[in-house]
């Protein structure tokens, strides 16, 4: 059985230490490979590849109006991905950010829905805070299930996302439906004070982008400079060593999930109190899932994630452009996202491994 054509293939040999060059090259290489593969797909679909590239990768940068939309979409992706990356480095796979985002949006909407007449500058900050708490609470269910009941956090967090989507449906079809909304599944429009103030006039970019950047800084300090962040990383890289050092695994899981939920909830709140101005069914266009890709593409590093979030946002806006100008179905964005992550995972292998052909490899098979 061992006599296979694999004998002709190169073998992966573990490097003595991680390669910095490969770390930095992996994202751009993955990007290039995914772009070429997807262009091939578009050509097969009979689309003009030049038009698609123009619409997807260039147009978002060509006007201030469209670039500001890129910045607007970067916010939630960046925020969620920063939170998730902390967990992923601790090997806590919270893939339910979508649900935590939705809960954040719901919690934040409670104020304008229940108190539509309320005024005052305190409203939007309280909404953001409530949203973050909502996201963290939703994530804490997963943490409890994982720590106390030993349940797999991937499955529980994902299931909770599907439940969250139904909860949103329930609210919008029932108690929170706008009575004057022509039966559309959406809440009332929020009052002025329930909206996050604008940052750049003439665009939809608001103050939450600054908050997101500040939290990215905080994530960098937390992961790279603090002892708690260090403990989390050791727990992820060498769980046994962490155990001997007395780092509590359950505590790491709670912290990872609460941070992830907090960030995703905040993002959800900023979305309803920002560009949307009401609770709708389509509050998230898969941000919670796309942020997983953003986190990996950024090498799970707070600074890398800033760039990958910006890029992913370009793909979203560019995908919308390409739908209009090059008649490309919006599902193409998801295909691109999936293939991008796959390409990145292959490229990232070379951070820890190098290729060697069998003849020169030591310990070759008999």
């Amino acid at each position: 059985m061992s006599v296979l054509p694999t004998a002709l293939l190169p073998t992966l040999i573990r490097r003595e230490r991680a390669s910095l060059a490969a770390t930095l090259l992996a994202p751009p290489v993955a990007l290039a490979v995914a772009t070429i593969l997807n262009l091939g797909l578009y050509i097969l679909m009979g689309r003009d590849p030049v038009a698609v590239v123009h619409a997807m990768l260039l147009e978002p940068f060509l006007s201030w109006a469209s670039f500001s939309e890129v910045l607007l979409k970067t916010g939630p992706l960046l925020l969620i991905a920063q939170g998730l990356a902390i967990g992923f480095r601790a090997k806590v796979f919270n893939i339910g950010a979508e649900g935590q985002f939705i809960l954040g949006a719901i919690f934040a909407s409670a104020i304008p829905v229940w108190f539509p007449q309320a005024t005052g500058q305190w409203i939007w900050p309280v909404m953001l805070l409530l949203g973050a708490i909502g996201g963290a609470l939703w994530a804490s269910i997963t943490a409890f299930w994982r720590v106390r009941l030993n349940a797999n956090e991937i499955l529980v967090s994902l299931m909770l996302s599907l439940v969250a989507a139904q909860l949103l449906n329930y609210l919008l079809l029932g108690p929170w439906k706008d009575p004057n909304g022509f039966n559309f599944p959406q809440s009332v429009m929020f009052q002025y004070d329930a909206m996050v103030p604008m940052l750049i006039s003439g665009t939809r970019v608001n103050v939450s982008l600054l908050l997101t950047l500040a939290l990215s800084m905080a994530a960098w300090v937390f992961m790279q400079k603090s002892f708690i962040g260090y403990k989390l990383q050791v727990g992820g890289l060498a769980p046994r060593a962490a155990g001997y050092a007395g780092f509590n695994e359950g505590w790491a899981i709670w912290l990872s999930l609460l941070i992830g939920g907090f960030a995703a909830g905040l993002a959800g709140a900023a979305e309803v109190a920002g560009p949307l101005g009401q609770l709708q069914r389509s509050i998230s266009t898969g941000y919670g899932y796309a942020a997983i890709i953003v986190a990996y593409l950024g090498g799970l590093h707070p600074i890398g994630i800033v760039f990958s979030a910006l890029f992913m946002s370009v793909i979203y806006i560019g995908g919308d452009n390409a739908m209009v100008s090059a008649n490309l179905p919006i599902a193409a964005v998801r295909v691109f996202q999936g293939s991008l992550l796959l390409a990145y995972l292959i490229a990232a292998t070379f951070v820890r491994y190098r290729l060697e052909w069998r003849r020169t490899a030591y310990g070759s098979r008999p």
Binding site: L155, M159, G338
Partner: protein, 303 residues
């Protein structure tokens, strides 16, 4: 027809997509690999089968193409996760996103279209028993998936192939040392799992609810992965779990039919809630998971 008869007669058909996908994932996990892309593999199989059947290719060809498509897509998973030792969780998620994207892309011009299902076969005598008779009137694929369940159980219990797959999952180094190619066994297991997920998707889109809608798999691939845990990696228990979820997904319809005034989003989330609760109950018994779990699950194999 009362609610119980309704659930009994529809349970097996509702369970079949769960069952096929979960059995496929069982084989993959038994070989030590965690493929979280089942949802995407099912969606991909579902759209392929739907397109074939819609254009008159017939259900048999539809299923074959769906199985082939699922296998091919899962081989991309194998290429990345085994060939490059990438993180299996991330790779599985990527395959899931890719599969769902491809299904939406291919299915775009088929949205809300319908096809004809397949006829049901009734067991003589048994199908005439009151109340439980409906259990014995099923379509051919539902009957076949029972046969597949038995076959997989027997393979793991009695055959060398089953033993090799388990050895590769429990102790890959030992399996390698006695001359088995761990990677090859895992590739074959992954391809089998992909094909089963493709069949499961096909069943969902051309037999169970013969219509195409983006997102129609609706978490069933994830529940299938959870079912493998519920069943503690045992074929028989996975079958029972699939039946339970078949029944749960019908309970909503039954409740509405009896005029019970429950909001439909609550009913839609019932399978997910049950998954969460059962996952908590089963996993809390750490000994049970340790006893039947797969030792090398999710870890890349390095000599």
């Amino acid at each position: 027809m009362n609610a119980i008869e309704f659930i009994l007669s529809g349970m097996l058909a509702a369970a079949t997509p769960f069952l096929l996908a979960a059995l496929g994932e069982l084989v993959v996990e038994r070989a030590g690999v965690l493929n979280l892309g089942v949802e995407g593999l099912m969606a991909f199989g579902a759209v392929l089968a739907f397109i074939i059947v819609y254009h008159g290719g017939g259900h048999l060809l539809g299923f074959l193409v769906a199985g082939l498509g699922g296998a091919v897509l899962s081989l991309i998973f194998a290429f990345v996760a085994l060939g490059f030792r990438a993180n299996q969780v991330a790779t599985g998620l990527a395959i899931g996103i890719l599969g769902q994207g491809l299904s939406a892309l291919f299915g775009k011009s088929y949205e809300s279209l319908t096809v004809k299902g397949v006829p049901k076969f009734a067991f003589p005598w048994l199908s005439e028993i009151p109340v439980v008779g409906g259990l014995f009137i099923q379509d051919v694929v539902a009957w076949l998936s029972l046969a597949v369940t038995l076959a997989i159980w027997a393979t793991f219990a009695y055959t060398k192939v089953g033993l090799v797959v388990r050895a590769v999952g429990e102790n890959p180094k030992a399996a390698h040392a006695i001359g088995y190619s761990v990677i090859l066994v895992r590739i074959l297991a992954i391809a089998f799992g992909g094909a089963m997920a493709g069949f499961a998707g096909a069943y969902a889109s051309v037999i169970y609810t013969p219509l195409w809608a983006d997102g129609m798999i609706a978490g069933r691939g994830w529940i299938a992965i959870a079912l493998v845990v519920f069943g503690t990696w045992l074929t028989g228990r996975i079958f029972l779990g699939a039946c339970l979820f078949g029944a749960v997904s019908l309970t909503g319809l039954a409740a509405q039919a009896t005029g019970l005034d429950v909001p439909s989003p609550l009913l839609s989330s019932l399978p997910y809630l049950v998954t969460i609760i059962v996952l908590g109950i089963i996993s809390a018994d750490r000994r049970l998971l340790k006893l039947n779990g797969v030792a090398s699950l999710g870890e890349p194999f390095e000599r």
